[in-house]
Amino acid sequence: MRASIRVGNGCGFWGDNLDAPIALAKHGRLDYLTLEYLAELTMSILALQKQKNPEAGFAADFIDVLTRLTPVMKEQPLLKIITNAGGMNPSACARKAREVLDAAGLNQKKIATVAGDDLMPRLDELLASGHDLQHLDEGTPLAAIRKQVVSANAYLGSQPIVEALRLGADVVITGRIADAALTVAPAMHAFGWPSEDWARLGAATAAGHLIECGAQVTGGLWCHWEEIPNLAEVGYPIAEIEPSGLFRITKPPGSGGVVNLESVGEQLLYEVGDPARYLTPDVTADFTTLQLEETAPDTVTVRGGSGKPATPTYKVSIAYRDGFTATGTLALYGQDAAAKARLAGQIILDRLRRAGHEYARHLIEVIGAGDMVPGLASDGSPREVMLRVSVHDPHQAAVERFTKEFAPLVTAGPPGVTGYTTGRASVRPVLAYWPALIAKSAVQPQVRLES
């Protein structure tokens, strides 16, 4: 058995740095490169793209990254890539990836896809058979907004990726899958961990959670930002996992950023609820038994992973159409800048009211005067602020009209108004988030080796 495997995550979300995966693969001595592209609402955007074009609906950035990775794949023939870039269309993503690999002379590389997370084609059948997909927090059954639903995807677990690796895949492309599974699966595959080994799955889940947001564990967001060397060339994270479940978090030598107890501690709790019960499809991981130690420069060793059995449900991420929104901004300068900004914001809403437009929701923020965290006072009286006004309404035309009320203030507003140079604000459809659970027995993950 291998003494350890090195899993590096080169992408924490769609929009992350495009050079990071290349640098990490080149310098990270990796066995597995993972690339994470899907935030909570990314799938709904991809679903709309796929409605327009049946060959779209995946994270297109991945194809560019893969193209740039082909020289590294030649130098490191054992390197495997695991990504959820497939989004709403893993097979179309795989076809593009195949073209890229073939064009680079990597015809022998095998690509596997993982599907089955997309519940949209079966949604009415599922609802009819008693899966009411009620809102996880509010308890409302999905039927209340069924007509507005754009996408519904179950977060799959590690098992289908393990299967893809067992079939010999060099590149595994999934749709919605638990982010940590991108890391847990290669460890299960490499070490033959059984799927009920809760302690080791709990440990690997912590490792996956720590690296899934890319640079956030290697210096990004760290409270002592002023101490970070060379954040511009921040190294992306590597989890070096041993068969026992012990792992080390580190980054490529010579890269920027830091890995220390503080950066790792902060990230371990990032977007966590109860740290003793971190739920994934694979395990209920317990992060409160982990012991962290700085064992080498930019290396934190983590022992003591543990976990309890996984729940019988998958989490389902549903997006639904919920009207339209727009946000406009103006800059204000001079004495009483904040008061002038509030007046300008009020004028905008007053004029719209007179024109017959009351919005379902509206908000005036004066950035620079303490509104970024509502209710907390800011220091003194700022000399310059940014006015930000937003509305949300079911009627698109009303929101369109809102975007036209900012420019007039350049001449009709209080003195010191400027910043109307980026043009009229754009109207966006709101795709709202509806979390739910579904029995695992109702979902069938599918693994396919693409020919």
Binding site: Q267, P275, A276, E294, H392, V430
Partner: protein, 125 residues
């Protein structure tokens, strides 16, 4: 509010933080630099104190979870984000600012502040 006085310290004197979103809820992790700082937080950084500090967010509830292994408490601020990532009209739809904001929270002056400050060399159990 962020000043250290004879009767109060700012949270930043003894802890570091990170925050993020979970739908319309936010989490704020507060990690003490030392064991004694952790004990001070346990006593004084209660869910009520955090809910009151962030009253402007209109949270429906604040819940505190301990991670003694990290000398940390994780706070869940329920319904704190004005609708969450896609629906919130706020500039900070994802609670990214809250970790920085809580660093200014005033705590009673501890008798042994020096043992709670960030140490040059840090280890955890």
């Amino acid at each position: 509010m962020s000043m250290t006085t004879t009767t109060h310290i700012a949270l930043r004197a003894i802890a570091h933080t990170r925050s993020g979103d979970k739908g319309n809820h936010a989490n704020v992790a507060v990690l003490a630099y030392t064991e004694s700082g952790y004990r001070w937080l346990e006593r004084h950084l209660t869910p009520d104190v955090v809910q009151q500090y962030f009253a402007g967010l209109g949270c429906s509830k604040v819940e505190r979870f301990a991670a003694a292994n990290l000398h940390a408490f994780n706070f869940m601020l329920y319904n704190a984000l004005g609708g969450g990532a896609s629906r919130s009209l706020r500039i900070d739809t994802q609670g990214k600012t809250l970790g920085q904001a809580i660093l200014d929270l005033p705590l009673p002056m501890p008798p042994d502040l020096d043992q709670m400050r960030r140490q040059a060399k840090r280890t955890l159990p």
